[in-house]
Symmetry: C2
Subunit: 357 residues, 2 copies
Amino acid sequence: MLHTVVMAGGSGTRFWPVSRQDLPKQFLSLFGDRSLIKQAVGRCRTLSSDERTWIVTGAAHAVETGRQLPDVPASHILIEPCGRNTAPCIGLAALCLLAEDPDAVMLVTPADHVIQPEAEFVTAVERAVATLETSPEKLCLFGIVPDRPATGYGYIERGESLAGVDRVFNVVRFREKPNLETAQDFLDAGNFLWNSGIFVWRADTIVRELERLQPELIAVLNRIRERLGEPDFAETLEREFPHCPSISIDYAVLEHSQDVCVLEAPFGWDDVGSWSALARLHPKDEHDNTVLGRHVGIETKNCTIFSSDDHLVTTIGLDECVVVHTENATLVAKLDDEAQVKELLKAIEAAGLEAFL
Amino acid sequence: MLHTVVMAGGSGTRFWPVSRQDLPKQFLSLFGDRSLIKQAVGRCRTLSSDERTWIVTGAAHAVETGRQLPDVPASHILIEPCGRNTAPCIGLAALCLLAEDPDAVMLVTPADHVIQPEAEFVTAVERAVATLETSPEKLCLFGIVPDRPATGYGYIERGESLAGVDRVFNVVRFREKPNLETAQDFLDAGNFLWNSGIFVWRADTIVRELERLQPELIAVLNRIRERLGEPDFAETLEREFPHCPSISIDYAVLEHSQDVCVLEAPFGWDDVGSWSALARLHPKDEHDNTVLGRHVGIETKNCTIFSSDDHLVTTIGLDECVVVHTENATLVAKLDDEAQVKELLKAIEAAGLEAFL
């Protein structure tokens, strides 16, 4: 049976001031009429019911996760006491759902990506599941065909097609986030895909690979798994999980495994990593402004404006800026300086204004 | 006796969104710890007590005026049913205070200018009053020594010194708001002063000049004066005042009178006509930003930031911008486009968002 594991560990710094420490972007409805985590669970619902859905999140976000996803069993909302990157997160989920279904296939997906249309996503996952039926040892990941030389994503160099399966390829190698020149080379070469962070594999396969490649990690996770269903499970999880090494599933397993294959995604994908995603994913007005909420502008172009119906943002003479208004904080930034949002948040902390983070 | 007449007819568009239709800039504490109208009355208090203070304002602002100036007699707060520029305003006040004091000297001052230090202002007014004691027919106005080629003010070309009085000059002519080139010529010539809109004269003198030069206007005002102290005074004022021609005291009288003299002001003066005044009148930080309220900036310079203690404004990569946050509206503008605030307010109205004006 297919189970969905939603990784919801996001900390919510990039969409500040809309996202906050206690409200990271998976909970926001910046893209569509539902939050990103509701969209993530929703698009998997025809593949695996809520009863076969698992969420891995942090303690700070457990309550909001439970509220936004009332139909996911409470025992399926796994609380990481601290962030340890994706390998411990995925390993823990794999062990937990194996206990419920020894034959489980896992669809692993971040909680905070935009994927459209849903039907194409469902078809693609079904194609991955079909691949596993003939090649159960495979670790399938979705690769996105690049449309620009993005420097913010990892790339996958794809090799030859898997025999008899359309748009599924062996992986030659993983490539870390490139500089702009290398990213352009990848784009020109035509055989590079973005690593979407969306995976499909059998739970027993990934556990076996973790046992082989990350014995230390799996030892910690096994101590947690032993208490599954026991009164001290939560306590054990809280005590043991921090002993996991902090490592991504890519570094921990995928880059060392011979069984990885990449499916060229037929769906639109955006990791909505910064405010510029708002402009990519919403229509623009006649001056190429992207506006959510009330706005009146004079000589304003190529700007992204975010406000609400009851707060009017006005702009005069602005070009390529983002203006974001929330109840207790406002951000005004030149769009190409978005990476500095992290620097800004450090400066806010340094100024003793943590209450605004 | 010296009486103070405060002209408080401001409509409050230039400091939007802090100033609003129902809260023009004379009521704001943008400059100092008291509102501008409180400062205006306060600096005249040693010259003329609250009992000899008159305020001319609009109906929309009568309540707030009364609240901010609880010690000014209610009968001295004259309500214009509509704006008719300064000549009707000053003529009305002159007639009203002549009824109380036939020997009255009037100090006429706008409610919304910044003047510092107060002591210099008081001394200057006393000097004007002394001038009137020897030359009671004089119409004295304060001229400000320009420190930049401002294009937003009227200029006064001064002539020779009045015999025996220091820094008081005859007026050669009034010059309308110049273009930048002409303003630079004025600045270079050294014998031009800004027209501050602050006047000192005997009430009977200005009435006589209005009778001579604006008989139509004074006829309307006399119909109002006749009902002074009667139950139907307010009703008469409301009915008759709109019949006044809309004309400034400069056009109506000063430019045609032979008795105008200009006193070079020894005090600092700013008409705080736009957001750039905030930068002129407040200290700058090490990046030449002027900040009121909470702000954290990254690569931000030459900006003016206005917020409050409980709303954090953040900026990244901004230069020469003004960012103003208020509870229900935000303005982000390139500083050199400030004149466009009026255009912006029209656009807000056109968008059906009058509630934000």
